[in-house]
């Protein structure tokens, strides 16, 4: 009884597929690809590389089917919706061939020849080798097809114009596979390839101009478009430059999400959870070696004289002290020392002192947990304070932690607290 039902169902579906394909032009039938075997070595390597590129992170909605797309990416230019990249013939990339895929990943061109928007970070993926691209494609084709059509982008005029996109590309898009630097070690080159290519760290960690183009290839830090998160410089020792960290510590932060001194939060925690924790030991080390070489050293900065604190400033800071003692001290400690691997220190923490105060304000407003990773499966969390204390108290306490225990940073006003409220959720 049950099996005959099933048979009927399959029968109907086959008839439907047959009828549909009869209506399609011959060319697209010819282009439709047979399903690929997930167990080939190539597909398995592709699965690993897709993790490194975090394709799933963008091409899956919260709680949705993996790679079926539909995630909305908000930018100042409009709302982009990630497409379905499972091998479904009608709604995904089932009819794509290797060359079509290469055109998308390497040149940023759709199958119909149109230009793709650089929210899809092909500006970085262009550095990926053909061999790696083919492996990712073999992996995507081995997935079960999922029929899911996603809504169209909502792009604000004039950015919805292909000619403008063409101009943008001429100015800002440099196509080209990564070229190893012969004067550096293989490990360094591998790290550079991963960071600048699949890892697409540039997509967040570079300053952007008004056209949304990254200013240059340098990981000099930038506000993430469409959110109030600031992705710090991976060069400057005042931000997240890691020139003075050990390779092991860098690798630990990026693969587990926490170290004794630092913690990843917000979008960076998500990148660690979805992607970086899955890198092999060798690849993570390579990445760390490269990142360490990027970081500038603080060197022999002459200890600068700090001017005596104006009275108004010390009065303002004094307002933050009781707030800290009441709400923060139990975790971050009497002298902002934190608890290694559990609660980040605030004293000497560059995330707290760097020029942009957005991330610190956001941590206090929304709290958060570091990512769950194999190396940190049961993280401790920070409470959200947005409903617990008022904006001016948040401004006081943030100003206080930016200027106590040897920390030095600008003061924060209640208006800045309000302006840092995000909208990604």
């Amino acid at each position: 009884m049950k099996s005959s039902n099933k048979f009927k169902f399959v029968g109907k579906r086959q008839i439907a597929v047959f009828a549909a394909s009869a209506l399609l032009p011959l060319s697209s039938i010819a282009a439709s690809q047979p399903p690929a075997d997930p167990d080939t070595e190539q597909a398995q390597r592709g699965a690993y590389l897709a993790r490194a590129g975090n394709c799933m992170g963008c091409h899956t909605t919260r709680g949705g089917k993996p790679y079926a797309g539909g995630r909305v990416l908000k930018t100042p230019f409009g709302e982009f919706v990630s497409p379905n990249i499972t091998p479904d013939n009608e709604t995904g990339i089932g009819r794509w061939g290797e060359e079509d895929f290469w055109q998308a990943l390497h040149y940023g061109k759709g199958r119909d020849g149109s230009y793709l928007y650089p929210v899809f970070p092909y500006t970085e993926y262009t550095k990926v080798t053909r061999q790696d691209a083919d492996a990712i494609f073999a992996y995507l084709r081995s997935l079960s097809p999922i029929a899911q059509s996603n809504p169209p982008h909502k792009i604000s005029a004039p950015y919805d114009n292909q000619f403008l996109l063409f101009l943008w590309r001429t100015w800002y898009f440099k196509e080209g596979v990564y070229e190893p630097d012969g004067s550096q070690s293989d490990e360094w080159n591998r790290g550079n390839y991963l960071v600048q290519g699949l890892g697409h760290c540039n997509a967040c960690h570079t300053p952007r101009n008004v056209w949304g183009a990254s200013q240059d290839d340098k990981l000099a830090g930038g506000e993430i478009m469409g959110t109030y998160w600031y992705a710090p410089s991976l060069i400057s020792p005042r931000e997240a430059g890691m020139g003075e960290w050990s390779v092991d510590e860098i690798a630990k932060l990026l693969s587990t999400g926490v170290t004794d001194h630092a913690v990843t939060s917000g979008p960076m925690a998500t990148i660690v959870r979805q992607s970086l924790q899955y890198l092999s030991k060798e690849d993570m080390r390579a990445m760390a070696v490269y990142l360490q070489s990027l970081g500038e050293k603080r060197g022999e900065e002459a200890p600068k004289k700090t001017s005596p604190m104006p009275e108004r400033v010390s009065k303002y800071l004094a307002l933050g002290k009781p707030v800290y003692e009441k709400h923060c001290q139990e975790c971050h400690g009497k002298s902002g020392e934190g608890v290694p691997g559990i609660y980040p220190p605030l004293a000497g923490n560059r995330n707290v002192t760097m020029t942009s105060s957005h991330n610190t304000i956001r941590s206090v407003l929304y709290g958060g947990f570091p990512p769950v990773t194999a190396g940190n499966p049961r993280p401790y969390g920070m409470p959200p304070f947005q409903h617990i204390i008022r904006d001016n108290e948040i401004a006081w306490v943030v100003s206080y932690i930016r200027n106590t225990w040897g920390n030095l940073g600008s003061l924060v006003s209640p208006e800045e607290v309000d302006a840092s409220r995000g909208n990604e959720f």
Binding site: R62, G63, P237, R238, G257, D260, H261, A269, T270, R273, R298, E301, P303, K304, T306, S307, M309, P310, R312, V313, Y316, C331, G333, S335, G336, E337, G338, V339, P340, I342, Y343, P345, A347, G348, T353, Y366, G367, G368, F369, P370, P371, V372, P377, R378, P379, Y380, G381, M382, P383, P384, Q386, H387, N403, G406, N407, L408, S410, L411, S413, F425
Partner: protein, 239 residues
């Protein structure tokens, strides 16, 4: 303007020295790990019974687990929780669910009754007999005779704030992002109720003292279990 000037005055340079790390004074417990949750779901009954925050202590573990995944995956919406849960795994959420389920917080004192005897009568009928004409089973058939829930997926109806109850029915009835994006037995029942019934229920339930334990799963009639199978399947849930 003055503010900006005095900020500028105090833009100082130089970097802080890392401090010596103190030995751990933090206990290696789940209680410590979920501090961010208890700021809203603690036992202090923060802003009194009318507060919006629902109690989660002592609720059936499967129910809590399902809700935590719903919040994380966008099937139920509350911004503060979505942000907190974003990077937590199913395994960790299951552990957190069991932890809160095992807690015994004191319940708030029952609220005073503000319904007329006729309204009370109507609510009690709905709760214990349902309305077969509209295909509404008795609430107690699923939520247990004492309304204290049925293990492990059906929650208690008692000890919840009025504002919270009203909002949940609003979420189910209006669809949308708040609750019940995907239809289930509870949202279907809520859609069949009238606004007057919802108002009266949200008034009446907080007047009931909480006594007794959640009912055992076997108590649930098979046809009701079938009706709720999307929830009761609880994929990934283990005791």
């Amino acid at each position: 303007m003055k503010f900006i000037i005095f900020i500028l005055l105090w833009i100082a340079s130089g970097l802080a020295n890392a401090q010596e790390l103190a030995p751990s004074r933090i206990s290696d417990t789940l209680e410590q790990r979920v501090k961010p949750c208890t700021i809203c779901h603690g036992d202090e009954d923060r802003a009194g019974r009318d507060a919006y925050y629902p109690r989660i202590a002592g609720k059936p573990a499967g129910y809590l687990f399902n809700q935590l995944r719903n919040f994380r995956d966008g099937r139920r919406y509350y911004q503060a929780m979505a942000i907190l849960l974003e990077n937590l795994s199913d395994e960790y959420l299951l552990e957190i669910a069991h932890y809160f389920s095992s807690l015994k917080y004191p319940y708030p004192e029952p609220a005073a009754i503000a319904l007329s005897p006729e309204e009370t009568q109507a609510v009690e009928t709905l709760i214990h007999s349902g309305d077969p004409d509209r295909d509404i089973p008795a609430c107690s058939a699923c939520h247990g005779q004492a309304l204290t829930g049925t293990k492990p997926f059906i929650p208690s109806l008692l000890g919840l704030p009025h504002a919270y109850l009203a909002a949940q029915f609003g979420g189910w009835r209006n669809g949308g992002v708040m609750r019940g994006q995907t239809p289930d037995c509870m949202s279907e029942i809520a859609k069949k109720m009238t606004q007057e019934e919802v108002n009266a229920l949200a008034m009446w339930l907080p007047t009931q003292p909480v006594t007794g334990e959640p009912a055992e799963a076997e108590k649930l009639a098979p046809e009701l279990a079938q009706r709720c199978h999307t929830i009761l399947s609880g994929e990934g849930f283990t005791q």
